[in-house]
């Protein structure tokens, strides 16, 4: 099977080429996580000393959190490309060509996967540069990146589906902002769940962002509990399949 002949691969290539032609977008998406790392790193520096946090270096704690948060933020805009394509007639052109609805979703997810891998790798490198430790080595880092891709794809599927059902930029912006920030703060991305109020810790147990943050943090530890990491990854994979299926289904509803 020649992959480059598959329509999803062609469409992913199109997204990547578009991104490459917007250096400002690349610049902004790479600057943002650096700001998060430096800002939260300074702001919460002392929390690592709170009893129950487990001590240690806060940057080491924060870096996987920022990796996951950035993956989530970036992918929540995924549906914007669909809205843009619907407004400009590009979507109709693809839909009257022999391109399946599934291929359009897959191409969007594949593009998101590629950009998330690059983005996560860069954040990890910067975190390492400012003092984060990765005792688990390359295997742990690879697992953290993989988990960041899973949460990104689950979010992108949701964003794509929403964009198809309500093709308005304002709605998507409002929905993703409303969703993304609480999801991030109701997780252990920035603070250990040991020191947050019980109800937040309770909600976090069912929050996919927390699954990703926990799995990513466990994975880079010196002796990762691979079983736990794998089960979180499994939950995320289920979330991803559900949102991707929903967005493919949304195509049919959008085509009245």
């Amino acid at each position: 099977m020649n992959l480059t002949r598959q329509s999803w691969a062609l469409l992913t290539g199109r997204y990547l080429r578009q991104l490459y032609r917007q250096p400002a977008v690349i610049g902004i998406t790479l600057t943002q996580p650096v700001i998060w790392l430096l800002l939260f790193g300074a702001l919460f520096k002392k929390v690592a000393e709170i009893p129950g946090f487990g001590g240690g270096n806060y940057i080491s704690y924060l870096t996987p959190g920022v990796v996951i948060m950035t993956a989530l933020f970036s992918s929540s805009w995924s549906g914007m490309s669909f809205i843009e394509d619907m407004d400009t007639g590009v979507m109709d052109r693809f839909l009257t060509a022999p391109v399946s609805r599934g291929a359009l979703i897959v191409s969007s997810l594949a593009y998101q996967a590629v950009t998330t891998v690059v983005q996560s790798a860069i954040i990890i490198a910067i975190g390492w540069g400012i003092g984060a430790g990765f005792p688990g080595g390359a295997g742990g880092i690879a697992a953290l990146i993989a988990v960041s891709v899973l949460i990104a794809l689950a979010m992108a599927g949701l964003s794509d589906g929403l964009a198809l059902l309500v093709p308005q930029r304002e709605t998507l912006i409002a929905a993703s902002t409303t969703l993304v920030l609480p999801l991030t703060f109701l997780s252990g991305a920035f603070l250990s769940l040991q020191i947050v109020p019980g109800w937040i810790a309770g909600i976090a147990r069912f929050n996919p962002v927390n699954w990703a943050a926990s799995a990513g943090r466990e994975a880079i530890a010196a002796h990762p509990p691979w079983g736990t990491v794998a089960s979180y990854a499994g939950f995320l994979a289920v979330a991803l399949v559900v949102t991707a299926a929903m967005s493919t289904r949304a195509f049919r509803l959008a085509q009245k």
Binding site: R14, R21, V90, R93, P98, V99, K256
Partner: protein
């Protein structure tokens, strides 16, 4: 011609939408057939159902009832097969603006599974044919409206479709752009025998370029034929009378009813249109009738039947009125 084959056939298409204002019937039993190798125009004002029809024929939408066949393939039963034999140009551009003209063509061709080498040749040929060879390496966002439209048509033709659908392709183009595009379409039809189905709300375009015209009004085809046939069926000319103010329209109608040569009168704003068998001959009687009714007339024009008249005749309202009521 041995056999006339229909390249596009729509039968009894029905489609309703639910909107805030209630149920809107976009298509109300719309039927027509377009012969292979010709230019066929669906003519009608905004809201007549043209776009809905094209969306159904190009597999983007499904009707509530009715059937459609494109290039011998049942659109509802085998949409996938239809997609491979049609090309579409929608109202919006459809070109990816951050890609170059060449890249847009190549992406489209590859989606149809064309081999790279053949595709390179085909893209170069189309860019040349559509006067885009020099702009081929530029991103589409730098193109003018006319260039974009030409690229859209070129893109729709990459895989050599049997039937090309264009939905209001000249809307938003300047007169030069419109003329350019029509030159391209008529040339294409003559050289390759591609069937072209085009929707338009420009009467003059349908009149000049289409082999056959179907007049659409409120989700139905109210007349279908060559523009000459449609005009001939009217058997008559129009006398257009411009009045000083709209308040005199009713008075003019009463006065004209007394004139035996006048078969029908209609009004659009301050202009009253009297339909007569022979315009120049009936003119003195028409003017005498208005004078008898004491209706002052600002100007008089005698018009041979136009598609405007055809529209008025079959749809029961003028094209301008229909257009305005669609906007309101």
């Amino acid at each position: 011609m041995d056999e006339v084959t229909a390249a596009v056939e729509a039968r009894e298409l029905r489609k309703g939408y639910r909107s805030r204002a209630g149920e809107v019937r976009a298509l109300d039993g719309l039927s027509f057939s377009a012969e292979a190798g010709t230019i066929f125009a669906l003519l009608g004002p905004n809201g007549a159902g043209k776009t809905t029809t094209v969306r159904i024929l190009t597999t983007l939408s499904r009707p509530d009832a009715g059937t459609a066949v494109v290039a011998g393939v049942d659109v509802l039963k085998r949409p996938g097969r239809v997609r491979s034999v049609i090309g579409t140009v929608s109202q919006h551009s459809g070109a990816v603006s951050l890609l170059t003209g060449y890249e847009n063509l190549v992406l489209q061709g590859r989606l149809y599974g064309m081999p790279r080498k053949e595709l390179r040749r085909r893209a170069a040929e189309l860019l040349d044919q559509f006067g885009l060879a020099e702009a081929a390496g530029r991103q589409v966002r730098t193109y003018s409206g006319g260039m974009r439209r030409r690229l859209d048509v070129a893109t729709a033709l990459v895989h050599r479709p049997a039937v090309l659908f264009l939905d209001e392709p000249t809307t938003g183009l300047d007169p030069e752009g419109r003329a350019d595009l029509w030159a391209v379409l008529t040339g294409l039809s003559a050289q390759t025998g591609t069937t072209i189905l085009v929707t338009t709300h420009y009467l003059d375009e349908a009149d000049k370029f289409a082999a056959k015209v179907a007049i659409t009004d409120r989700g139905r085809i109210v007349a279908e034929g060559t523009s000459d046939q449609l005009k001939a069926r009217l058997q008559g000319d129009s006398v257009l009378l411009e009045l000083g103010d709209a308040g005199q329209v009713e008075q003019a109608g009463k006065a004209l009813a007394q004139v035996p040569q006048v078969r029908q009168t209609t009004a659009d704003g301050t202009v009253v249109r009297a339909r007569v068998a022979d315009g120049p001959r009936a003119l003195p009687a028409v003017l005498a009738g208005l004078e008898a009714g004491a209706v002052p007339v600002l100007s008089v024009t005698v018009a041979r039947p136009s598609l405007d008249d055809v529209y008025l005749h079959y749809a029961g309202r003028s094209f301008g009125q229909a257009e305005r009521s669609a906007v309101a």
